[in-house]
């Protein structure tokens, strides 16, 4: 009987068709190891999966040899399995790798290692040189590649405060990197901590968003580059807004927000999504704000559907493409233990939420990272464990977007 159930489940899961999506059966990127072996799929902006040509790659941190290090696994679209994990970081303790696709099945990675952001390119033929991005302490890198150039934002330590910087690199040959520009995103020295930046590009403009504690609590700030300037940004604006009708609180400074993700979509748009605790009774929810060329960031809106209102959401990630597709994913506890949920943006509205087939149900599924490839397929990686705090596996699925857009 159990065998029949498993067979039926396997058939159902082999290709799960849900509304606009047709997901493949999940595969394991990296297996569960010992009881003390933990995978982490985390980065500023949650960019841990990318597609270059016919190759999908996933970057993560785990401590298989008792030291947290950065690993990469790749898979051809037609392949069933991912390659064995390739260690990308050096000898230090390494965390929070961000990944971006270059041309020609190549990928650039940046991560924090011994309190410095390191970076290198990985191609089908090997790894390029390892470089330190900043001279002093730095953390939380996020990468973007476009228009033949690699761009990176990160938090650099200046005295007791952390400040967001923007770096530009030329890719030289197959895997070389040449630094070209560096500037602070906010030209005014910070009044308080700035953390967890990420960036997107649209119509030749760079849009950066980050966490900022300048009002005495954490808010999301954003800034766009000045047209024609190699390294200059307009004055930052507040992206996460106070709830409508909010009055000055007798205590504290304001509600909490955390971990912004950004993605461009269509020909004019960029979207920012983050975890937001304005409804403090139910925990964090996923909120967002669209940005448009010449209009900047618009009002805040809820990304999750109404059924998520009484549950906790964490770990927002976004993927968009030039055809106007935009998808959000996050960890969601509305059905008990954590599941990965998706929503997609159409005509200015977020869809009803979809529990990711194979990434929801019994056990704990969380920390998603997503990307859309040039054919409109949605690639999803996430962390799976049987119970909270237990050993982990990394899982992957891909879906075709069945509807025209």
């Amino acid at each position: 009987m159990r065998g029949l159930f498993l067979l039926a489940s396997a058939l159902l899961l082999s290709t799960a068709v849900v509304a606009e999506w047709e997901f493949t059966a999940p595969v394991t990127i990296s297996e569960q190891g010992s009881e003390r072996f933990f995978h982490h799929l985390e980065s500023s902006g949650r960019r841990n999966i990318a597609v270059s040509g016919d190759t999908v790659a996933v970057a993560w941190e785990d401590d298989r040899d008792d030291t947290p290090r950065i690993y990469l696994a790749r898979k051809g679209m037609a392949d069933t399995d991912f390659s064995p994990a390739m260690r990308v970081s050096g000898d230090g303790e390494a965390f929070e790798p961000t990944l971006v696709a270059l041309t020609g099945e190549r990928f650039a990675l940046a991560w924090e290692e011994d309190a410095q952001v390191k970076m290198r390119i990985v191609s089908a033929h090997g790894m390029g040189p390892l470089i330190a991005v900043a001279e002093g302490e730095s953390r939380q890198p996020s990468l973007h590649y476009g228009d033949g150039e690699l761009r990176l934002v990160l938090a650099e330590q200046e005295g007791r405060l952390s400040r967001i910087y923007y770096h530009r690199f030329e890719v030289v040959g197959e895997s070389g990197l040449k630094r070209s520009q560096r500037c602070a995103v906010d030209a005014v020295p910070p009044e308080d901590q700035q953390f967890y930046p990420t960036l997107a590009r649209q119509q030749g403009l760079t849009v950066v968003a980050w966490e900022d504690r300048r009002p005495g609590h954490t808010v999301i700030m954003g800034a766009e580059s000045v047209p024609g300037q190699a390294c200059g940004f307009r004055e930052p604006v507040r992206v996460s807004l106070p709830p409508e009708g909010a009055e000055a609180a007798a205590y504290g400074s304001g509600h909490g927000v955390a971990r912004v993700a950004l993605s461009s979509y269509g020909r004019e748009g960029v979207y920012a999504a983050w975890a937001d605790k304005r409804d403090y009774r139910e925990g964090y929810s996923i909120f967002g704000a669209p940005w448009r060329v010449k209009q900047g960031f618009a009002a805040n809106e809820v990304v999750q559907d109404a059924f998520g209102g009484v549950a906790k959401q964490w770990h927002a990630t976004l993927a968009g493409d030039g055809h106007g597709r935009l998808v959000a994913a996050w960890s969601d506890e509305r059905d008990g233990d954590s599941d990965v949920l998706l929503s997609w943006y159409r005509d200015g509205q977020w869809s009803d939420d979809l529990a990711l087939p194979g990434g929801s149900g019994p056990g704990v599924q969380q920390h998603p990272s997503i990307t859309l490839d040039s054919a409109g397929r949605l690639h999803v990686a996430w962390v799976e464990r049987d119970e909270i705090g237990g050993p982990t596996r990394l899982r992957y699925t891909v879906s075709r977007w069945r509807s025209s857009n």
Binding site: E35, R36, F38, H40, E42, D63, D66, P68, E93, F95, R139, Q140, F195, Y196, E211, R213, P215, G216, H217, T218, A249, A250, Y251, G252, S253, G254, G256, V257, A258, R259, K277, Y280, R281, E282, G283, Y284, K312, W314, S331, I388, G389
Partner: protein, 152 residues
């Protein structure tokens, strides 16, 4: 005039506007507190706060400022403070390295403040959510210690 300005300045400095851990308490990072608790066989009291948290500031001012609360909590527990939005890293007893923010998700710190009473293995035996009075903290201390002693 100068005296008034200095007095105002010193009052402003004294205001706990950032809602960090309450003053005059030996709060430790979570992993250090767990190590100390295991060495001493004591339970851990974890304060999950966040930067700018209003109810944290209220609780600090109204409850943690009371000598009776300070005496009981410093005597009965190893104290840990966690900024539930922070990227600061710590090591769990299992060996896993995570951020303070992720620790908040593990202990269901969906609001701030959340006060968790853990045994020395890190299992939550009792917790309080939201702003607390002196009386609530003193009562919770008794309830938590009864649960911890009974292995509930």
């Amino acid at each position: 005039m100068l005296r008034s300005v200095l007095l105002l300045f010193s009052l402003l400095l004294a205001l706990p506007i950032l809602a960090d851990a309450p003053k005059d308490y030996p709060f430790l990072p979570f992993d250090e507190a767990m190590s100390q608790a295991q060495a001493e066989g004591k339970p851990v009291f974890v304060y999950f706060g966040r930067y700018g948290c209003g109810y944290c500031e209220l609780t600090n001012k109204e409850a943690f400022s009371q000598p009776e609360v300070r005496e009981r909590y410093t005597q009965h527990y190893v104290l840990a403070y966690v900024d539930a939005e922070s990227g600061k890293r710590l090591r769990l007893p299992s060996g896993e390295r995570i951020t303070e923010r992720e620790l908040g998700t593990r202990y269901n710190a969906f609001a701030t403040p959340v006060f968790s009473y853990l045994d020395s293995n890190g299992t939550a035996r009792h917790r309080l959510i939201g702003a607390q009075t002196k009386e609530a903290l003193l009562e919770a201390d008794e309830v938590a210690r009864a649960k911890l002693a009974g292995g509930e």
